[in-house]
Amino acid sequence: MRSISSCGALLSVYYPQIFLILTSGSYLALSSVVALGANIICNKIPGLAPRQRAICQSRPDAIIIIGEGAQLGINECQYQFRYGRWNCSALGERTVFGQELRVGSKEAAFTYAITAAGVAHAVTAACSQGNLSHCGCDREKQGYHDQEEGWKWGGCSADVKYGVEFSRRFVDAREIKKNARRLMNLHNNEAGRKVLEERMKLECKCHGVSGSCTTKTCWTTLPKFREIGYVLKERYTTALEVEAVRATRFRQPSFLRLKQSRGYIKPTDTDLVFLERSPNYCEEDTVTGSAGTRGRLCNHTSPLTDGCNLMCCGRGHNTHQYTRVWQCNCKFQWCCFVKCNTCSEKTEVFTCK
């Protein structure tokens, strides 16, 4: 819990500053303010690779979206693993993408995939909302060099490809070292983006004379990010152990191979891959990046992973009594503030020793 709150505090420290700088100033002076603020912001974000910093400075409007996308991935990761020993927390160097996991484990694979997918999802959603400009319409279309003319001639709806490409350019840019871990990270990033592309829904509408189907127009719809989380969680359970293969003895690792196979079988595009076995995540360990389960909430009657026996790794649990207050008899509306009564009862909460 301490690391999660510190991570949230870290992100919240920078976001108000980013928003404040970018949204202040008059419209005409916005470009200069952005140009001035971009350097300050980009230099202050911890853990950016040099190429990422360059992208940040050239597209300051996108860096907010990227941060939101990374946070979207982290939040989804914490939701999907909320009942496990590892709940998407880690010790280690703090970056805009959360703490980096040192062990090349299944958990690291999931983290990289969900973060890359989160950035792609957030960029695509921002384009749909109009919060990002130049979303894929800056390419030459039908031979037109002018973006406006291309839009008027043949249209250019911003689809997921721009978000995926942007995620690829930014997220993959943090992989600097030439080693097996780099191959693993790049593969898992791409797997996350591929899952997002696969889950795009094609929807069609018939229109035309008297509503008949003389014309049918199709488009793709961005799925809710929770669906991506569920899919990647399934890929996590079937993740594949791989090892890096060198083309020659002294060259850098060139591709990944399934470890259990006899030949050189490569993982598929959407498989999650890992290099090392996972630690048990029971104890806090700075070497592996494990945060441990001390102080975690657990359910003392559950036989599953959120039960105290499994969660606390046999160390036992503490019991605390407190008065639970919750809202009851609510009159629900489709959103926002709802009118409820307040109920309370005494209850117990269990935490790992």
């Binding site: 008059s26 749909s128 109009g130 319409c137 249209g155 509408k205 014309t215 669906e227 926002c336």
Partner: protein, 542 residues
């Protein structure tokens, strides 16, 4: 005696004409496939959630823009609204059309908006059965980025939610989305302004049960569909080229039938009427939409198409009837009223339906006949009746075609026993009918095949280095094909000046008065008895 051009044309000339028409046909397909972009473009919009802090409601509403210099104060999701104690009635969904750095154009011809709600499953806040959502929507426009927004439509609409939850309704699946149907939202018949703004509210009124029981809405998505400007230009150019082509052949055809010494027969009149309806659909009135804000252009186009199809279907019936080769005299429109009534009635039903949908949308672009139960039932009734009329027409047409072929086989066995003139006459009738039957079936098959291809395919093929727009090729190709059909029809079935069967036998004519009656009702009689003929007859007698 003489027949239509098609009977007297040599095989060589007929093949040459066919090849020329085929080349034009291929060209019209290629114009759509290679030059034009796809017919329509779809743009996805995710509505921005703006917060309206004003407590008062005044006549001049404040406009909330999702981005730009004067953008509204936003919330990212409704958890944020919950924390700030913002109520449902203070949420405004804002959508700016088009996306940033683009502008709408009059070449887009129409703007169709489709609505989709992201509704999350919550055990305590589920979607009630038969739930209906009430939408308070305003539409505004402006023509440059610094102007004030001008309201152009305001409406309170209801749409029926049709949502399905595929997973189990358990706590573990809370937060997953329902699978909701798309909802019709808005249709503009012209795109006269550069920027449009939509502000949508979902007002809550617990006493009146307004927007209660519609689940927990996470997001509102819109899809904007418009015609591509490039496709519009290609389409207008095609129409502008085809109008004089069909007009010239119509004038030529009119001269041919007025040069005769007898009044035109029914079939000739119907062919001419078909040409008129083709010209009516060809006239590029749409050019005015580029300069004027005429919202009724879509409706007008629908009406013109309806007239052409009704005329084409009537022509087929009358053509079959006039080639029945039984001994009944026709040449009157009243003979065909039983077959034509399904055409007229079916077309009328579709016209009423179109007026109820697109006609009402001229005033209220957010209207949809499918939004209410009564409207849905009326619409289904009109469509079902039109479908029944179509089936009846098809049965009538098939029966008449069957009759013609039966009579053809009957006449064919009698051909060797006939005189030369009568044999040539019947052979001409048979050839005319079979030729048109073959061409019509080919055109109809081509239309159906391309319709199926455009439904199944993604819309474009990669052919070598080129992208082929299948849907555009379908539109321009089929449209060009039916124009060529009408053109060829008027050319080949115009009265011919050639004559054949010089032998005349007064004895035969006197002995077969019944078939003489049949002869006079067809278009074979071009010149009739002329002065020269009468003088020649007299000289022979003397």
């Amino acid at each position: 005696m003489a027949g239509a051009i098609i009977e007297n044309m040599s095989t060589k000339k007929l093949v040459i004409l066919g090849v020329i028409l085929m080349l034009f046909q291929a060209f019209s397909f290629m114009v759509g496939g290679l030059i034009a972009p796809s017919p329509t473009a779809a743009v996805s919009y995710l509505a921005t959630k703006c917060v309206d802090n004003e407590k008062t409601h005044h006549k001049n509403p404040k406009w909330f823009t999702p981005w730009g210099p004067d953008q509204c104060s936003k919330i990212k999701d409704f958890d944020e609204a919950m924390v700030k104690k913002i109520e449902a009635n203070n949420i405004v969904f804002a959508i700016h059309i088009p996306p940033p750095n683009t502008e709408m154009s009059t070449w887009f011809q129409f703007l169709l908006l489709i609505l989709h709600f992201d509704i999350a499953f919550k055990i305590q806040n589920q979607i009630a059965d038969g739930a209906s959502i009430t939408i308070d929507v305003r539409l505004a426009y402006r023509d440059d980025k610094l102007s004030e927004w001008t309201q152009m439509a305001h409406s309170v609409e209801q749409r029926k939610l049709s949502c399905n939850f595929t997973a189990a309704k358990t706590i573990e699946n809370e937060g997953r989305l329902y699978d909701c149907d798309l909802l019709p939202f808005m249709e503009l018949g012209s795109v006269a302004h550069k920027y449009y703004l939509l502000n949508v509210r979902l007002p809550v009124n617990e006493r009146k049960k307004v927007n209660i029981g519609i689940g927990e809405i996470n997001d509102m998505r819109l899809v904007g569909i418009h015609q591509n400007g490039g496709f519009t230009k290609v389409w207008f150019a095609m129409k502008t080229f085809l109008t004089p082509s069909v007009l010239i052949i119509m004038i030529w055809y009119w001269k041919r039938i007025t040069q005769m010494t007898r009044p035109p027969v029914l079939l000739e009149k119907v062919i001419f009427a078909l040409g008129i309806s083709m010209t009516f659909i060809n006239i590029p009135v749409e050019w005015f939409s580029v300069g004027f804000d005429w919202t009724w252009m879509l409706l007008f186009g629908d009406i013109r198409q309806g007239i052409f199809y009704a005329m084409l279907l009537s022509f087929w019936i009358i053509f079959c009837g006039e080639h029945l080769m039984d001994q009944t005299e026709r040449n009157r429109f009243s003979v065909y009223w039983k077959q034509v009534i399904p055409i007229v009635f079916g077309s009328f039903c579709l016209f009423i339906f179109d007026m109820c949908e697109r006609g009402v949308q001229l005033k209220n672009p957010f209207y949809s006949i499918w939004a209410s139960d009564v409207g849905t039932e009326l619409a289904m009734a009109f469509i079902i009746v039109a479908g029944i009329c179509a089936c009846l027409y098809f049965l009538f047409l098939c029966f008449m075609v069957f009759q013609v072929f039966r009579n053809i086989s009957g006449k064919r066995s009698c051909l060797p026993a006939m005189t030369k003139a009568r044999r040539l006459h019947y052979e001409g009738l048979i050839f005319r009918f079979k030729f048109l039957m073959l061409v019509t079936l080919a055109c109809a098959a081509m239309t159906v095949i391309f319709f199926i291809i455009s439904q199944v395919s993604e819309g474009h093929w990669l052919w070598g280095g080129h992208t082929v727009q299948v849907n555009s090729a379908f539109f321009t190709g089929i449209y060009g094909m039916w124009n060529l059909y009408v053109f060829a029809l008027m050319f080949l079935y115009a009265p011919s000046h050639k004559r054949y069967g010089d032998e005349q036998s007064s004895a035969d004519q006197a002995g077969n008065s019944g078939e003489d009656t049949q002869l006079t009702t067809t278009i074979t009689h071009v010149d009739g008895p002329t002065e020269i003929y009468k003088m020649t007859g007299k000289e022979a007698q003397e």
